[in-house]
């Protein structure tokens, strides 16, 4: 069981993540978008969206440091595990809080604003459920596990982080996870499930963060020869050419 959960599942999810993105990029560039709903509602979005996204950027940065940087490195820098812990909490809790509050505002907006709710697909709902659970579990692990230390102290940098790196080193150590607290195990498992869903949801927009904008010239000139064979002439009707339809409420 432990091999299945902590070796097979992660590898399958990562494979789906990578192959899925390649597939989506090749076959569905048209669907690759943020699918913004700002046109319908912008007052709540103005508060919730930056909060959630910036919070998540902080959270991701924290995960990179916590999972990728081995404890021996920070020790070598003269940073005691305790000092590291304090720094991590000082950065992680505000970021996590911003992400959670932002998410709550966004989900409330999505449910309570009629047009936004109508534009929400089943795919979106499932993704939000998984994403929300992962975020909440993560916060729980931080607050309850690390800050209040329910059920004893657990240093994830000697458990979860080592296991995480072992996956990418292709020498997985499932035993490390099997002995981790339940909150960490659920968080990790659901996070991998989220990775597997990623390429098939609107989350793909994460990978189109427009950093090239900072360096490219303002005006883009392009010859019409640039994309040979990608014409619209006699192809079958493409997505985005559906008739408007009235579904009454």
């Amino acid at each position: 069981m432990s091999t299945f959960l902590w070796v097979i599942v992660p590898y399958v999810c990562l494979a789906v993540f990578v192959v899925g993105h390649v597939w989506r990029y090749r076959y569905d560039k048209f669907g690759w978008t943020t699918r913004s709903s700002q046109l319908y509602e912008s007052r709540l979005l103005r508060i919730g969206s930056p909060m959630f996204h910036l919070g998540m950027l902080g959270v991701v940065a924290g995960h990179v440091v916590g999972l990728v940087v081995p404890q021996v490195w920070t020790n070598a820098l003269g940073l005691s595990p305790h000092a590291y812990h304090v720094i991590a909490l000082a950065g992680g809790i505000p970021a996590g809080l911003a992400a959670v509050v932002g998410l709550v505002i966004l989900v409330y907006r999505r449910r309570m604003t009629g047009p936004v709710f109508r534009a929400t697909t089943v795919n979106d709902k499932v993704m939000y459920a998984v994403l929300g659970t992962v975020v909440v579990l993560g916060m729980w692990n931080t607050v309850a596990g690390s800050l209040l230390q329910f059920g004893g102290e657990y240093n994830y940098r000697e458990g979860v982080s080592v296991w995480f790196r072992s996956i990418f080193a292709l020498q997985p150590e499932p035993a490390l996870m099997a002995s981790a607290p339940l909150g960490f195990r659920l968080h990790a498992l659901l996070a991998f499930l989220l990775f597997a869903m990623w390429p098939f949801t609107r989350l793909v927009h994460v990978f189109s963060a427009p950093l090239g904008y900072l360096t490219r010239p303002y005006l883009v000139y392009r010859s019409k020869d640039a994309r040979p064979g990608r014409g619209t002439g006699s192809r079958a009707p493409q997505r985005g050419w559906d008739k408007p339809e009235l579904t009454r409420k």
Partner: protein, 553 residues
């Protein structure tokens, strides 16, 4: 000098009757889809009025276009870093309420309603929320100055002249302003796009959104000061007027021009110097922008320009088309067309001939001769309100160029009356506005009588480039990712698949003007394949019936 060609348009506002045919046909062709219900690539506004979306010209509010700050040209809504910092929620994007909530009617009720005393009524339902709505705004709510006491007074272009206008404008003037995307030389929508999905085509300057690269960051909508980039709320992508490029590429005009009842649109090429664009967009004084824009254009009669154009790879027939271009004549030779809002510094490429009719109407109403040149000149000088208003639209508030154009139009009116009544033409009239009598007559011909082929001078894109034209779609092989045209042969296979618009337009022309089928060109793409829609019933063309193997025919 870097010569580039630009497909441009001029609209003669005196001839616009506000019938909205251009808007409707454009919508039928391009935006009758889910997600684009509120999208009008072409719309017609009554001025003074709010326009579409409401009050879009108020750039203090909407932050569109470019501004000069500290001697440099900057996006008014903020540069790259600010764009990325606000990417999670664009602070200056119009909401659907600033456009209008699109609706349909529940026509089903009319059929399904049970027997009742009163007639059933189809009620409006929002296409956004699906709920019944009270319609309180639309793309043309203030059409013909409807509700103007409430709406038109909020027109941003009335700033500075509102006290005079409040008293007088209803009896003074009204005109229509049809608008499409300006296909600017310095497009701020493209500059605002974080993904680089909006591009200007090198060949004809048409500005397009690459639907495969757009990621829905919505910055272009803020960036465009004309608010002519729209957000498709179904697909999550930006869409805009395409200048009907599939039609332009085969040499036929845009849908809005083709269907224009007043025949007020002109399409043609202009040549310009791409190296001078930035310089012209950065002149300090707003009033100098019109002259600066004129300075960017190149004269296709100039041999050096033609040499440079050839070196830049512009085909000879395109240069020829630029010489015959009605747009070039109206903008550069007669100087009667003006750009819409040059102060946005985007260098718009759809220009307008301002309407003389508000002035003529006033003169006529006072009982004076509205075709007498002195009366008209006097009226242009005294009727400051329409002139100042037009200047706010077309010359960043500088009255002199508008004055000049209106005087030319007034002079033409007077000059032509003498000719039409068989009197001797008075050459002092064109001389008063600095024109020759012959040029004035030519201008009259172009504005009043020009035929289809004179109004639309559109060189088709080149056959040697044909493989890449969107309209032809010849490289759309069966297996898109299987290395191109493989083993499978279908209708589209073979040497020359026939593009749809070319088939209709050119082939009809050929078959209708040929005396016999044999006269049709030897490489007629229809040979071996018969389109019954274009078959005129004469003879039995090859391929009408399948070949009978046994009889040999």
């Amino acid at each position: 000098m870097r010569v580039m060609a630009q497909m441009a348009m001029v609209m003669n506002l005196d001839k616009c009757i506000g019938c909205h045919t251009c808007s409707v046909t454009c919508k039928q062709a391009w935006t009758n889809r889910a997600g684009t219900e509120y999208v009008w690539f072409n719309n017609v506004e009554t001025r003074p009025g709010l326009g579409y979306p409401r009050g879009y010209e108020d750039q203090d509010e909407w932050q569109g276009g470019w501004v000069m700050r500290k001697g440099r040209l900057r996006l008014r809504a903020g540069g790259r870093l600010k764009k990325l910092a606000t990417i999670f929620s664009n602070p200056k994007m119009p909401s659907i309420q600033d456009y209008y909530e699109p609706w349909t009617y529940d026509y089903e009720t009319l059929l399904n309603a049970p027997a009742q005393k009163t007639f059933p009524v189809a009620r409006p339902h929002s296409l956004i929320s699906g709920k019944p709505i009270n319609i309180s705004w639309s793309a043309n709510w203030d059409d013909d100055l409807g509700g103007s006491r409430e709406h038109a007074v909020k027109d941003p272009m009335l700033k500075g002249i509102e006290d005079k206008v409040r008293m007088e404008f209803e009896k003074t003037f009204m005109f229509y302003l049809p608008r499409i995307c300006e296909h600017c030389l310095n497009p701020s929508c493209a500059a605002s796009c974080p993904s680089g999905a909006i591009y200007k085509r090198e060949e004809d300057g048409i500005v397009l959104v690459d639907q495969d690269r757009c990621r829905g960051w919505r910055m272009c909508i803020t960036g465009c000061p004309y608010k002519k980039v729209y957000f498709n709320h179904r697909t999550g992508k930006a869409e805009k007027c395409t200048f009907c490029y599939p039609r332009i590429e085969v040499g036929i005009p845009t849908v809005c021009s083709e269907t224009c009842v007043g025949r007020l649109r002109y399409i043609g090429l202009v040549l310009y110097d791409a190296d001078k664009v930035l310089e012209a967009a950065t002149v300090e004084d707003d009033h100098d922008l019109y002259e600066a824009q004129l300075g960017v254009f190149l004269d296709p009669e100039d041999p050096e320009v033609r040499r440079e154009a050839e070196a830049a790879g512009i085909p000879a027939d395109w240069v020829e088309a630029a010489r015959r271009s009605p747009v070039k004549k109206l903008i550069l030779d007669y100087k009667v067309a003006l750009p819409l809002h040059p102060e946005y510094r985007t260098m718009p490429m759809v220009w307008y001939i301002p309407p003389l009719s508000p002035v003529v109407d006033v003169v006529k109403d006072t009982g004076h001769d509205a075709e007498d040149v002195d009366n008209l000149f006097g009226a242009i000088d005294t009727l400051r309100i329409p002139v100042e208003y037009l200047a706010n639209l077309f010359t960043a508030g500088d009255v002199a160029p508008v004055d000049g154009v209106l005087r030319k139009l007034a002079a033409m009116r007077s000059y032509m009356r003498d000719i039409n009544l068989g009197r001797d033409p008075r050459d002092e009239i064109p001389a008063a506005v600095g024109m020759e009598g012959e040029a004035m007559y030519e201008m009259f011909r172009l504005l009043a009588l020009a035929k289809y082929s004179e109004r639309y001078v559109i060189p088709p894109a080149h056959a040697e480039q044909a493989h890449a034209l969107e309209e032809l779609a010849t490289e759309c092989s069966v297996s898109e990712y299987g290395g191109g045209q493989g083993e499978v042969f279908g209708e589209g296979s073979g040497a020359a698949p026939t593009p749809v618009a070319v088939e209709n337009f050119r082939v009809l022309q050929q078959t209708q003007s040929a005396d016999s089928l044999e006269q049709l060109p030897g490489d007629n793409p229809l040979r071996g394949r018969v389109n019954l829609l274009t078959w005129d019933g004469r003879g039995m063309p090859d391929g009408l019936f399948p070949v009978d193997e046994e009889a040999g025919r």
